[in-house]
């Protein structure tokens, strides 16, 4: 084993290291594995998941057939995509402003974003229950879109700032000398250079909205059902159908798995602060 600034391990130390790695893998992978196992057990066997021997795929059928499940999935997917697209369009510009400028105006914006980021979701989410009703966008895509955008903006403006600070100014300078306008430089020169970073951020935005619960609880009431809330309702309402719930949770994980595995390279690369 080659070191990265670390001494090579010999003998019992190597064994200890191996055991530690095994423990880590076990701790983080086991719960998901258990979830999948529970989702494969028929209803009567779910009480003793470890002891049973029968497997079935009926739970997944049951989950799909249950009330509003497919609709919630579709809604969550649409919302996540909408929110990510709109957020990026807005956050990238905000990050550019933070990265390229100095001075009181920029610092005020920085401070504003920083403070806004510290406000707990519950504080501004609860009044939104009434505000979105007043705006007539309660329990619609729009009513959920804007709060999610607000979260994304607050979170990722600062990360975008980091990206823009890392790319060189030379090309922008050159373009400006050639007579390119400010916006032109932004769209044609700056953005293409941070595309990997934007890719990483978009994955995280998408997953955040897909997995979000609090706004789903506060700002919907049956018309725009979202997946996380539907799954939580499984457990609290229609009998403890752990088998169906696990199947539903596994189904909810699938887009997340696809996106994470597909995008993990970008995430690792793009998030280097």
């Amino acid at each position: 084993m080659a070191e990265r600034g670390q001494l090579p391990l010999r003998g019992w130390k190597k064994g200890l290291w191996g055991f530690a790695i095994f423990l880590v893998c076990f701790f983080f992978a086991f719960p998901v594995f258990w979830l999948i196992l529970t989702s494969l057990r028929p209803e009567t066997e779910v009480f003793y998941v470890h002891a049973g021997t029968s497997f079935t795929l009926k739970n997944f059928v049951g989950a799909f057939n249950s009330h509003q499940f497919v609709r919630s999935m579709v809604n969550s997917a649409i919302l996540a995509t909408l929110a990510t697209t709109c957020s990026l369009l807005v956050t990238v510009q905000s990050g550019y402003m933070l990265g390229r400028f100095r001075g009181t105006f920029r610092n005020t914006w920085f401070g504003f974003i920083y403070i806004v980021r510290t406000i707990p979701y519950i504080t501004w989410g609860m009044p939104l229950y009434f505000i979105t009703q007043w705006m007539r966008i309660y329990d619609t895509y729009l009513g959920l879109l804007f709060p999610h955008m607000a979260v994304h903006i607050a979170f990722f403006s600062l990360v975008m700032k980091g990206f823009f600070e890392n790319i060189s100014l030379a090309s922008e300078e050159a373009a400006r000398i050639d007579g390119c306008s400010n916006w032109g430089v932004f769209w044609k020169i700056a953005i293409p250079q941070v595309l990997p970073g934007i890719g990483a951020i978009s994955l995280i935005c998408w997953l955040w909205t897909w997995n979000e619960l609090l706004f789903a609880m506060l700002l919907t009431s049956g018309r725009t059902t979202l997946l996380t809330l539907t799954i939580v309702q499984f457990v609290q309402e229609i009998g403890i159908q752990w088998n169906l719930m696990s199947a539903a949770a596994v189904i909810a994980l699938i887009p997340a798995i696809i996106i994470t595995i597909f995008g993990q390279k970008y995430v690792m690369r793009g998030l280097r602060v």
């Binding site: 998901v32 470890h50 510009q93 806004v116 607000a150 903006i153 997995n211 994470t260």
Partner: protein
Amino acid sequence: MGWSYPNSQRDRMSGRNWQRSKNDLDIEAELEAGRRYGLNQRRKFMWGLILPAFLTLIFFEILPVASAFWTSIHRARLFDKSRIFVGLDNYLHLLKDPHFFGTVLPNTFLFTFIGLTLETALGVVIALLLNRKFKGETLVRVLLLFPLMVAPSISGILFSWLFNTQFGIVDVFLEAIGFYRVPWLAGRWTAMSVIVISDVWLWTPWFAILLLAALQVQPLEPVEAARIDGANASQVFFNITLPYLSPVLTICMLIRTFDLFRQFDQTWVITTGGPARSTEFFSIYAYKEFFEYTRYDLGNAASLLGAVVMMIFGIIMYRTFARITMSEREKA
């Protein structure tokens, strides 16, 4: 065998100069060029850049907070629409409420502190463990990613299932090894442990991955130099690696502190603040006041109190760690 920032850099870190980057001169040139286009146009450009974000934040974060404040200083209940001005009565009621002051706030602070400590420590340990080349490296990294894909509410359901006293695998295992079945969700501290474990499970990989990314581009000269001087592993770690990691570590800790303090999803799913409201955090308390007891004024007051605590903390942290969060390029 000490390692710290060279003098020239320390000068640059003082005061407001810390914001300047290596591209400082370039930025000056850009501003100069910008001035060629006129100050107005620059201003317009900056506004144009942030206008959509600004509007969204104003209407959907500032306006709600203002509305929350307005509601919290009036009487606002579900079936009492009088909306009389009551000043700071609601806040006083909260501060005098033995449950809020004696249970909810300590719970929140305790949870934040313990969660942060565990996640940071484990994150650092795991990052160090993985900072080697070995077979199966990718597999381990993928397994580490699992918790990041799971929604917090689903992880809450997952852990309440794992720790279910009748059917959960943890208690079955405990019974099998001769211990007794622990009634996890029936007691304050045992239920809190389940919530902490679910949060640690969920967020330690995030720490670990970010720290690992930083470790993998760590410049190795100081380490080599120290080794030659005869330093052992722990001395290398505490004097070289840890200071190197501190920017990333501090940012991560800061982000997690905010998120731990305002945590809602897992607790709601695992205990809904029970049993007997003993595992309530301030976000759960605010939600319950608002939705279950429909005491909108108290709910908003509680959430605003939490927001104020967080804002003050955020400002203090910003001042204290501004130097440490300076980005990496700026060191030698």
